[in-house]
């Protein structure tokens, strides 16, 4: 019988998928923060305005971890070949395929349930097609993984910024 640790995806895959989770979350945080930065400077010192950003990036780190944990939990619960094997590529495809649906579902007040269900079914279909593609065409999964390897450096630069932001938040609240 497989132990819990056997059910976990490989450490390298987790590392790559975390990078994939960080990118969209961090891009949103950074873009929105920079958009507001000039208005913060109107009533804050530069240090305080930068610290406000530290809170945003700390939250982004937390949000990225939540996404990664959700995917890791699915990998543990689902049959291994569904998600655990090739966790980085399958997980990142699932993440990016699901992201528009999640953003839409969470930010919109659903008035018409039939329309929402239809849209969700469309997304599930897309996800299934991508999944099949990954399974049938081995090179696709490899390409995705290669791409993830390349962007992980950028992603982990953001993570460094997030960790530094977390330290700033802790120091300011001591």
């Amino acid at each position: 019988m497989a132990t819990f640790s056997d059910r976990l995806p490989s450490r390298h895959d987790i590392y790559l998928l975390f990078g994939a989770c960080v990118l969209p979350v961090q891009a949103q945080a950074l873009f929105s923060y920079l958009n507001e930065f000039p208005s913060l400077l109107r009533h804050m010192t530069v240090w305080d305005a930068l610290s406000a950003g530290a809170y945003s990036f700390t939250f982004a780190l937390f949000e990225s971890l939540v996404l990664l944990l959700a995917l890791a939990l699915l990998a543990i619960l689902l049959p291994a070949r569904w998600l655990k094997d090739d966790f980085a590529s399958k997980g990142s495809v699932a993440l990016y395929a699901l992201l528009p649906w999640l953003v839409y579902s969470l930010s919109t007040e659903i008035v018409s349930w039939p329309r929402y269900i239809l849209l969700s079914a469309g997304y599930l279909l897309l996800l299934s097609l991508l999944y099949l593609l990954l399974r049938r065409v081995g090179v696709t999964a490899g390409s995705i993984k290669a791409l993830l390897e390349r962007v992980s450096l950028l992603a982990y630069l953001h993570v460094v910024l997030d960790v530094f932001s977390l330290l700033v938040v802790i120091v300011r609240n001591l």
């Binding site: 969209p24 873009f31 969470l106 300011r172």
Partner: protein
């Protein structure tokens, strides 16, 4: 007391009469002198009703009966009929009330702004705490919370916002209390900065929390919908009942160690105006305010729409007034008022005219800067009315004086008439400052500033793209609706006021030059 009186009651009444004759006319002055040493100092309760315009209160001759309780209870209070806020929205108004200084000194100029850090010790809380008072503070309003956070080291009991909310989506005060005024901006960015088109810094979590919050709101509305048909009282992401705040005060105030200085800031009548059922439709009448010319900065709503919202605002005032009446009577029954000064006031007013609605404006017309001020002194049985212009910066020195405490030299206000041994306010100049478009630590170059002196109010708009250097002058005593701008026609009145205002601006800008 039964009638006819028995011998014992007759003797008690006679002794009471003799004792009252022995009390000099100006009770406040005597109280201030006799409190130190001879008995416990008086308690102080400051009640701030947010965005309460004095011009919409029947207490100040508004045609609609919006404040029957305040008007009735004013028979035992000192009422100030020309009392000015120091700003036109919560942050500067509250900071001035609590620090006794003008916005150009404490630098609370913008939304979610607070006093400059080096000045955080200059507050009513520090002064009363130093005098041995138990200091307590609460605010429904996040903007006021930003101001209070700066004074937090001097507040012994800081009641969490959540304690008197039915629902609250705010977390900075709980998670980041030590760095609230920066963290609250992150939270504001997280929630999308309160603006429709603003992006949240969060990709998913904010929407998720919003979904949960909406579901909770629906559940509350189902529960309270009958009582509040127009929706529950709320502001930002806080939903509350004024009744809960009143009940909290009524039951907890007598328990607070004495002497206490309690600052209690509640949202009503700040919009959205959602009163209890019995106040909805209370003013569906044919009364219409006079039509006024559009301001420099109109927002666009028609007179009809403004009057519609004014009616709702008036209903909300009536609801607030009823709750205040309930609180007052409850405290009176508990005997709390026997040794407590109760101050009823606001942080700023509200505007429903000249194409402007609410208080997010660069203007300083009377409805937005004239606020109520009633001070109930312990044992006061006779009404006093003061018609000289007064400012919210005067509240701090007045209360310190009443408590027998020295007034700090950094305070820019003066002891109010009827409390001071001599009234020197008639010829004094007061100021109102609106500078939310100015940077906090820069000289005021884009702002609106008013000087109030005697019956006149001169307003100076400067630094705005279309109004680099504009003025308005009103005789507020004879033209309370501000229909006749005298700036061009009465140059002999305008020039000295203009010179004084410019000189003052030069003085306050000097440290930032």
């Amino acid at each position: 007391m039964s009638w006819p009186m028995n011998r014992r009651e007759f003797l008690k009444m006679g002794l009471g009469l003799l004792a009252s004759l022995a009390v000099p006319w100006d009770r406040a002055a005597v109280t201030a002198r006799t409190h130190p040493g001879s008995q416990r100092p008086p308690n102080v309760l400051i009640l701030v009703f947010d965005a309460f315009s004095a011009l919409n209160a029947s207490l100040h001759a508004y045609p609609r009966q919006t404040t029957p309780n305040l008007a009735q209870l004013a028979a035992r209070a000192t009422g100030y009929h020309r009392h000015y806020a120091a700003g036109n929205f919560t942050n500067p108004g509250t900071a001035s009330l609590l620090s006794g200084t003008y916005p150009w000194t404490h630098r609370t100029l913008q939304l979610f702004d607070s006093v400059a850090k080096p000045l955080a010790g200059n507050s009513i809380f520090r002064e009363f705490a130093a005098a041995g008072y138990r200091t307590v503070a609460y605010s429904h309003n996040l903007q006021a919370l930003s101001v209070l956070e700066a004074f937090r080291p001097d507040i012994h009991q800081f009641i969490p916002l959540q304690e008197l909310c039915l629902l609250d989506n705010h977390f900075s005060d709980l998670l980041f209390a030590k760095d609230y005024n920066v963290a609250v901006w992150q939270e504001r960015l997280f929630h999308g900065a309160d603006r429709i088109h603003a992006r949240s810094t969060s990709l998913l979590l904010r929407s998720l929390s919003q979904k949960i919050w909406s579901a909770q709101v629906r559940s509350l509305e189902a529960r309270y919908g009958e009582l509040f048909p127009r929706g529950l009282p709320k502001m930002h992401d806080q939903i509350f009942l004024l009744e809960d705040a009143v009940d909290w005060l009524a039951s907890n105030l007598p328990q607070i160690p004495q002497p206490f200085m309690v600052y209690f800031h509640v949202i009503p009548p700040h919009g959205p105006c959602n009163p209890r059922r019995e106040f909805v439709g209370l003013f569906d009448d044919s009364w219409r305010p006079p039509h006024k010319p559009r301001s420099f900065f109109p927002q666009g709503p028609s007179d009809e729409l403004q009057n519609y919202h004014r009616r709702q605002y008036d209903e909300y005032i009536a609801y607030t007034d009823a709750e205040f009446g309930r609180l007052y009577r409850s405290l009176e029954r508990a005997g709390t008022l026997d040794d407590t000064y109760v101050v009823v006031t606001s942080d700023h007013g509200e505007l429903f005219e000249r194409g402007i609605m609410g208080h997010f404006t660069q203007t300083l017309y009377e409805p937005i800067v004239r606020i109520p001020l009633l001070i109930f002194q312990p044992g006061q049985s006779k009404r006093k009315d003061v018609y000289a212009p007064t400012s919210c910066v005067d509240v701090l020195p007045t209360l310190l004086h009443a408590a027998g405490q020295p007034i700090p030299d950094w305070c820019e206000g003066q002891v109010l008439p009827s409390f001071a041994s001599e009234a020197r306010l008639e010829e004094r100049s007061l100021y109102v400052v609106e500078a939310k478009r100015n940077r906090k630590y820069r000289a005021l170059t884009k702002a609106t500033v008013a000087i109030v002196k005697g019956p006149y109010k001169l307003v100076h708009y400067f630094g705005y793209p279309l109004h680099q250097d504009a003025y308005e002058l009103y005789d507020v005593d004879n033209d309370p609706e501000e229909l006749n701008d005298l700036y061009e026609s009465r140059k002999e009145l305008a020039q000295p006021l203009r010179a004084e205002l410019l000189s003052k601006l030069e003085e306050v800008n000097r440290p930032f030059a």
